[in-house]
């Protein structure tokens, strides 16, 4: 509830470190008082609303390769933390090899906000409604994290602890997200149900991703992630298991929809009721899988 939003941002110091080491050290030394900042679109709103009171905002979007998008057929796709969503959408490599990622980015807010918003920022904000998180999870994204003592890779499953809460420690800076080269052929879609046509936060978001996989009974592997129906972005493993083990058919997708519905426990909130969300999870999961399947043919 933002009844008491301040007219302007509260006071803080803007810090622009020259290197990742300097940034991590500063953040660790000022733990609890400092926050790394990329596009700022989430931070400014929270600060103005009075929820966050950091004394220092540490701008990390210009550091060491944060501005790069690189694709390599062996290493896959690396998107620097500072790359804004519009750049991701426009990237020929993303469009060619990871169109699901571009589709997820396109659903976010507005063009103006996407000039600032980043995928890494979306992930670190750890909102269950984060539109790009489902695609990142299903595409096997891994975060590159620079900490006070070391560089490390953090796979996305297990990254989210709760709404707004992740495994990151003070001093940690995510510098990039990396995706393995995608299996071929693959396909996916993101269905975002908002209150109006575009630019809303999701009432329910369903990301579906599928690819041919000879190791499964069905010959395919389908993955589903749900937004806004759990405390964290939710990958529905039951759906993947079921569709791997059973012949692909409209009935199978119907069952997948039911499994998705059973897997989540949404709440009533200002955007929608739990009852509606559950119904939509079922129908939109079925629909997303059906369409993804159609695109694979």
């Amino acid at each position: 509830m933002t009844l008491n939003a301040h007219p302007e941002l509260p006071e803080f110091d803007y810090i622009r470190p020259a290197s990742l080491m300097e940034a991590s050290q500063f953040l660790a030394e000022h733990a609890g008082e400092a926050r790394p900042m990329l596009g700022g679109t989430d931070i400014f709103v929270r600060m103005r609303d009075g929820f966050w009171h950091e004394k220092y905002l540490v701008d990390v979007k210009h550091l060491d390769g944060s501005g790069d998008i690189r694709f390599d057929p062996v290493a896959g796709l690396t998107i620097g933390a500072g790359v804004n969503m519009n750049r991701v959408i426009a990237s020929p490599q993303v469009q060619q090899h990871y169109p699901l990622l571009a589709e997820a980015c396109r659903s976010v807010a507005s063009y103006q906000l996407r000039t600032r918003a980043t995928i890494v920022g979306n992930i670190c904000n750890a909102s269950p409604a984060g539109d790009t998180i489902g695609a990142c999870l299903l595409l096997g994204g891994t975060l590159k994290v620079h900490g006070v003592t070391s560089f490390r890779q953090v796979p996305l499953p297990g990254f989210f602890l709760g709404p707004g809460s992740t495994v990151l420690q003070p001093g940690d800076i995510v510098t990039a997200i990396q995706f393995p080269p995608p299996p071929q052929p693959d396909s996916g879609m993101y269905i975002k149900l908002g209150r109006n046509q575009m630019s809303d936060l999701s009432i329910v978001g369903v990301t579906a991703y599928g690819f041919a996989d000879r190791t499964t009974t069905s010959g395919y592997r389908f993955r589903v992630a749900l937004a806004s129906v759990a405390p964290v972005p939710l990958v529905v493993h039951a759906v993947e298991e079921y569709l791997a083990a059973h012949e692909i058919s409209p009935e199978a997708f119907k069952q997948a929809g039911r499994l998705a519905q059973e897997s989540c426990n949404p709440i009533d909130d200002v955007r929608g009721s739990a009852r509606y969300r559950k119904a939509m999870v079922q129908r939109l999961t079925e629909k997303a899988l059906q369409i993804t399947w159609g695109q694979l043919q």
Binding site: L3, L193, R195, N196, I203, V270, A279, M280, K287
Partner: protein, 785 residues
């Protein structure tokens, strides 16, 4: 009543779609809005401490720490504002005293050298509340069980056409008793009885409220603000402070959207009171968007009960209506909506027997005020759905049913007034035609269903019977014309049509006419308010009179100078011409310097200044028991909207594919701008139909920002909008014109509801028709699993 206006030949540029005269300023970014005005480094900033309870006694209020904060220059509380303020009913203090009645009620105000310091000072103000049980539903509020929110209701000053009920929360009770409703039910073949709960919505002007006030040592107060109604603000604030109107000067630059929220007085008085504590310094108060949602005006909610019946032929026989308006914490303005809905409660139909009780009820909700439509969208939302249901119950096509029953020239209206000439039937037929009524087009996808719906509307300007306009027309040496008015351009284009009318009435090219801005109560001529869709008609009449007055002065001067008859002279294209002698002379110079007599024998003429005013003189009172009277209102604008929608069976999402609007505006002074009103109003209507509603829980607003209060965006606008102008002249309108601004959003909610029914066979009832509401209704009906 003269009929000269309708027999007046149409002179360009009246009837021409000239570009608006303020467009260029706006597109290059030089148009100044209130927050753009520069006041120099001495400007102070104000912030308001607001009640955190919907209903509470203020036990203790300690501002001492706030006053000591460096940079704080003034702190004011209700102690400083003992007077009452209000337009129709004076029921509120500028800052609350003893009691807060809604979350957001102003308790204290601070002025400081920066907004940050003012904000910090708010945290230093200590308030001790004693929460009281609250009223959050108007039917409950109207019942004897509810706590009294205004125990002194009977002591409030009130205008003589508003009827509060002492010892209750009912601040106005308007009655219609026409014919014999009870006896009529037995003659009805079909009866529909329904209840609707229409939520509060907010105007959402893209420019939030802003006011700057300065009080000088000599007692003069200046108020700059985003304002629809500088004269009303001057009047109300003066009265509340025990001052005279001329002690206060209100300056009103461009307004970034009003829709009623910037009429009357909401936050402006706060800035004035604070400024009075720091004589000689300007104090700016800006509302955040969050404050905009719940601390200025909102549109009333209403619980509306309809019962209506028709005979075997489909003729409406009786209507019984009960409206419980959720007026919010203060209903100084909202009481008149109750009345306006009451005297129009038959909808645009001939109904011989009507019983209406329209109650304005205090609740601990945000303050209700005027919003585009002034009770009509809220009322039509349910009424036009009932009409549809009744039609179908009797086996009639909804368009045919409306054709039969809609109001026609000469009909006796619900108040006993006789309907003036109206093109409502024409609007209905044209709208139905344009939407291809009766033709079912295939859906765009297998999981979507298509439907069409139609709704009619009417609305009269809701205002005191003696609301007046005035205008001045001054001529300049270069021949240009300066039109001065007191009516504001809030985007609807009133300055442009004023210029067009002046140009036409005077005989000069459009390019020669300017409108003096910003409005300034010290220099601009009086205008009651920019509301009620009244300016083109009322202010227009004043402008035309002033322009003709100027024309007369010029012609008299030239007639004397040329020794010709007035009847042989004319002004065309900025030149005075004689039909007789074929002489001509440009208006330049002579309109200021006069004309010299032959042989240097003196001068005649002088600076030309035309004046005009207009005030309707024929509106009568209504019997308090029956609501009957010879002339309840000045006139009605009528119209129709039809829509085609698609419903997504997977999600319940409703998409408005296309819309058609047809309104009888009497005379379109600027046809393109009339259509622009029809389009903008339609989309605002769609937005309120599908997305909008203040979600109040026990008085607390859950959706106080754009994140969760959704309005229509570019992707929600329909694929096409077709706007049709119908012109059945208004007898006392300039060239026959009457208003359009509000009417364009009145029938949209029920048109969409009726289209949804056509698509999926379900009555969705109360808006907003969100995907969730529609989907769950489909589930309940067994239409989907």
């Amino acid at each position: 009543m003269t009929t000269r206006s309708t027999t007046e030949k149409v002179t360009q540029p009246v009837g021409v779609s000239v570009p608006r005269i303020d467009a260029k300023e706006k597109v290059i970014g030089s148009a100044l809005f209130a927050d753009d005005l520069q006041f120099g480094p001495g400007l102070l900033y104000a912030r308001i401490k607001r009640s955190v309870y919907p209903h509470a006694l203020i036990k203790r209020l300690d501002t001492s720490k706030a006053r000591l904060l460096p940079g704080v220059k003034a702190v004011v509380t209700g102690e400083d504002t003992p007077g009452f303020i209000g337009l129709y009913l004076q029921d509120r203090h500028i800052f609350c005293r003893e009691r807060a009645r809604y979350v957001g009620d102003p308790i204290a105000g601070v002025a400081a050298v920066s907004e940050e310091i003012a904000e910090q000072a708010l945290d230093l103000i200590e308030v001790e509340y004693e929460p009281l049980p609250g009223v959050f539903d108007p039917e409950y509020g109207a019942s004897p069980d509810a706590p009294l929110l205004h125990p002194d209701l009977d002591k409030y000053e009130v205008v003589n056409f508003i009827f509060p009920e002492a010892n209750s929360n009912i601040s106005n009770h308007f009655r219609i008793r026409k014919g014999d409703v009870e006896a009529s039910w037995t003659q009805c073949t079909a009866i529909i009885e329904r209840k609707y709960r229409i939520p509060h919505v907010q105007h959402v002007p893209i420019e939030p409220h802003v006011a700057v006030a300065r009080a000088n040592e000599d007692g003069k107060i200046t108020l700059w603000g985003s304002s629809q109604s500088p004269f009303a603000q001057r009047n109300l604030i003066a009265k509340a402070l025990g001052k005279s109107q001329s002690d206060i000067q209100v300056v009103a630059p461009y307004v970034g959207g009003g829709f009623g929220s910037k009429a009357g007085v909401s936050m402006e008085a706060l800035a004035v009171v604070i400024a009075m504590q720091v004589k000689g310094r300007s104090v700016k108060l800006r509302l955040t968007r969050e404050e905009e949602f719940y601390t200025t005006f909102v549109r009333q909610g209403v619980v509306a009960h309809f019962k209506m019946g028709c005979d075997r032929e489909g003729r409406l026989l009786a209507m019984e209506n009960k409206f419980y308006w959720d007026g919010g914490a203060y209903t100084e303005y909202g009481v008149n909506m109750t009345r306006a809905a009451g005297y129009s409660s038959s909808g645009p139909y001939f109904v011989p027997n009507v019983k209406t009780d329209s109650y304005c009820v205090y609740t601990n909700h945000p303050v209700s005020g005027p919003m585009r439509g002034f009770g009509m969208p809220e009322m039509h939302a349910g009424l036009e759905q009932c009409i549809d249901e009744l039609a179908i119950a009797i086996g009639m096509d909804p368009v045919q049913f409306r054709k039969l029953n809609c109001i026609k020239t000469g009909d006796t209206l619900v108040t006993g007034m006789t309907m003036h000439p109206t093109g409502l039937s024409e609007c209905l037929v044209k709208a139905a035609d344009a939407i291809a009524w009766g033709r079912k087009d295939p859906s765009s996808a297998p999981h979507k269903r298509r439907g069409k719906g139609i709704a009619l509307m009417w609305k009269a300007p809701a205002m005191p019977p003696n609301a007046g306009s005035s205008a001045k027309v001054a001529l300049n040496e270069d021949g240009t014309v300066t039109v001065s008015v007191g009516g504001q351009d809030i985007g609807q284009g009133s300055f442009t049509v004023a210029a067009q009318m002046a140009a036409a009435a005077l005989g000069v090219p459009m390019e020669w006419v300017r409108v003096a801005t910003p409005l300034n109560t010290d220099y601009s001529p009086y205008e009651w308010q920019t509301v009620a869709s009244r300016l083109t008609w009322s202010m227009g009449n004043a402008v035309v009179t002033a322009a003709r007055d100027a024309r007369q002065q010029i012609l008299e001067m030239v007639a004397k100078a040329w020794n010709e008859d007035l009847d042989d002279l004319d002004i065309i294209d900025g030149k005075v011409i004689s039909y007789k002698s074929e002489e001509s002379i440009s208006l330049k110079n002579i309109v200021v310097y006069g004309m010299s007599l032959p042989d240097d024998q003196g001068w005649i003429g002088g600076p030309v200044l035309g004046r005009g005013n207009f005030m309707p003189t024929y509106v009568t009172g209504l019997d308090p028991e029956t609501g009957q009277g010879p002339r309840a209102v000045v006139h009605y604008t009528t119209g129709a909207q039809a829509v085609e929608v698609e419903v997504d069976m997977d999600t319940g999402k409703v998409e408005v594919l296309r819309g058609v609007a047809a309104f009888d505006v009497g005379k379109a002074i600027n046809p393109d701008m009339v259509k622009a009103q029809m389009e903008g109003g339609f989309v605002q209507g769609v937005s309120t139909a599908l997305f909008e509603g203040l979600q109040l829980k026990e008085g607390f607003l859950q959706n106080s920002s754009f994140v969760d209060y959704r309005i229509a965006t570019s992707t929600d606008a329909p694929l096409s909008l077709h706007s049709i102008i119908v012109e059945v002249p208004q007898d006392d309108g300039p060239w026959g014109a009457r208003g359009i601004g509000e009417h364009a959003m009145v029938p949209t909610i029920p048109a969409i509801a009726n289209a949804i029914y056509d698509a999926i066979g379900i009555r969705v009832g109360s808006p907003p028709f969100s995907s969730e509401k529609v989907f769950l209704a489909m589930q309940e009906a067994g239409l989907v699993e």
